[in-house]
Symmetry: C2
Subunit: 335 residues, 2 copies
């Protein structure tokens, strides 16, 4: 069995990152990580007529560039694993239509980057595909329109809110002799501690991150300091603090090796309150800053834990609390 | 490599069906396959207050019964792979919340049963999990409300329309010495031939089924008559005819060994026009009639090809045509 403990898959054939790419919108391009992103668009419509089409175009473009970065042609790609926040994950599906690559749609909301890496690593490691494109993205304006209010309303944002990142990230995995390897992954359970406030995603998602990280550490017998970096996807400031509290209560102390992409991506002056969120948040930081720091040898062992809130507007209107999930992926610098 | 041709995964460790279950609503319980379903509900609200909650309850119940049928307890299940038609696949995610099983959300619209079986077979075959729950379901009333018109409007249905099946199916896979095996799977590409009519799903999805079946036959070097049964998920009467025409044009003749779950499930007097559709259509027929006929030895080699239409209401309103996909799974009677 390629398995550790209850929920952790082990990849003995070392699926490796053979290409990656990140694209973000104008606001993200003025944030803390501007220098690391592969591309910053100066127009958040990406030349399209609607934000939904813009999101799809952005994801498609990011995947195209990642495939080129991996020195592959689109018709040499064996499978595309992608998803997004739009109803029926249309952004990813329309990208898959244009790219004409065999496609399995994933849905883990903002945890999709980790979910697609986890399934992609299984498919590559198990020899079912020779390579896998793992991708996701999100767009501030399409997400606000779908989940909250039309931007034209000018609704005031509450202090616990986060800003959905306009951005996309793509990782291409393949069996290879060298490069950053995906060595294991921990698949999460749906965790719901009763938060109902769609403007407090950090509080809703922190228990899911807690559950997956604690399970991962138990499954692997590791302590948090095994990792140079434990990186959550988009808990934001409040969610990150809740996560640290919860893990400390369980006996795990996260120190300077812990960061959260949502907390990192925007500069303070950008007034996003709790920070960034969305599929594109973790995906763009992972596929830029993190992989670059791993390639330069500054980071060796990284645990990337993307968290997702799985509610819909209908479930919220019907009084349901927010079910959340987190998946963890372990990346290891060149072995 | 556990792979054949361009898009086909091969499972040399024979992941097998160790349990399954099907549940349908009252209308389906008066159709042609009533005697085969494990359970027929006499109330399409399944005791809940909304159709969305009913759909989730039905999926959760079906999975619970399939797990029991596999002689497992929920905490012995390693992963649940499921999805549905609701925005953000909430029916499956809320079921995963109740069941507390590690969960990866799938989205392939009505192709989800085949997608989850395909990924589930990879995870079991590769030894990443000891078992996998693969499930999906749909509900006529929640689907009409979300994708078309509220039922209260009493909108007239056009003659090409299909009736979304209220039903769910679940298959539990594990490595086992005996039982029906999943021997290979062909993952589909997104195919879009420009159909824009959301009331003609059969015509939209037939080219995707054609592409996947033709690819599968090329990848495996088989002729259609290798299979006792080639079964599409929910093309309906018109879609099935288009599929047969397209395959014949390519030199593959489907004969008496071809059926479509959408065409099979309702009786003529039920006036569903082109037949059934929805994730629950293929899922409920596969997990009742097909597996029963395989266990009784009447069917040995089955190619199950579920098709999905990947549009959303927003993409339709923005003038997009309907992107479709089909995934194929090969089931083999006890070897």
């Amino acid at each position: 069995m390629n398995r550790l403990g209850k929920q952790t898959f082990v990849f003995n054939n070392y699926p490796r990152v053979i290409g990656n790419y990140s694209v973000v919108g104008p606001k993200e391009g003025k944030g803390n990580f501007a220098q690391f992103f592969d591309e910053i668009s100066d127009n958040d419509l990406f030349g399209e007529k609607s934000y939904e089409k813009a999101e799809s175009k952005m994801i498609e473009y990011t995947i195209t560039q990642a495939i080129a970065n991996a020195k592959l042609k689109p018709d040499e790609v064996d499978v595309m694993l992608a998803g997004d926040l739009m109803n029926q994950i249309t952004s990813s599906s329309f990208a898959a239509r244009s790219l004409s690559i065999p496609y399995a749609g994933m849905f883990g909301a903002c945890s999709t980057m980790a979910e697609s890496l986890c399934i992609g690593a299984c498919l590559v490691d198990g020899g079912y595909v020779s390579n896998a494109v793992c991708a996701t993205g999100s767009h501030f304006s399409s997400a606000e329109k779908q989940f909250r209010y039309p931007l034209e309303l000018g609704t005031q944002r509450p202090p616990t809110s986060q800003w959905t990142v306009t951005g996309a990230g793509c990782t291409v995995l393949a069996r290879n002799d060298s490069g950053i390897a995906v060595t294991s992954a921990t698949i999460g359970k749906v965790v719901d501690w009763g938060v109902t406030d769609a403007n407090n995603m950090g509080a809703a998602m922190a228990p899911a991150a807690f559950d997956t990280i604690a399970t991962h550490l138990q499954d692997t017998g590791r302590e948090p300091d095994y990792y140079d970096l434990i990186l959550t996807g988009d808990l934001g400031k409040l969610g990150s603090e809740i996560l640290m509290d919860l893990l400390e209560y369980k006996g795990y102390k996260l120190g300077k090796n812990y960061s959260d992409c949502g907390q990192m991506i925007y500069a303070n002056y950008q007034k996003t309150f709790m920070g960034g969120s969305g599929c594109g948040c973790g995906a763009s930081i992972l596929n830029s800053y993190v992989l670059q720091r791993m390639r330069s040898g500054h980071l060796k062992n990284v645990l990337f834990v993307a968290t997702g809130a799985l509610m819909s507007t209908v479930s919220a209107q019907q009084g349901e609390s927010i079910p959340c999930i987190a998946h963890g992926v372990v990346l290891k610098g060149d072995l």
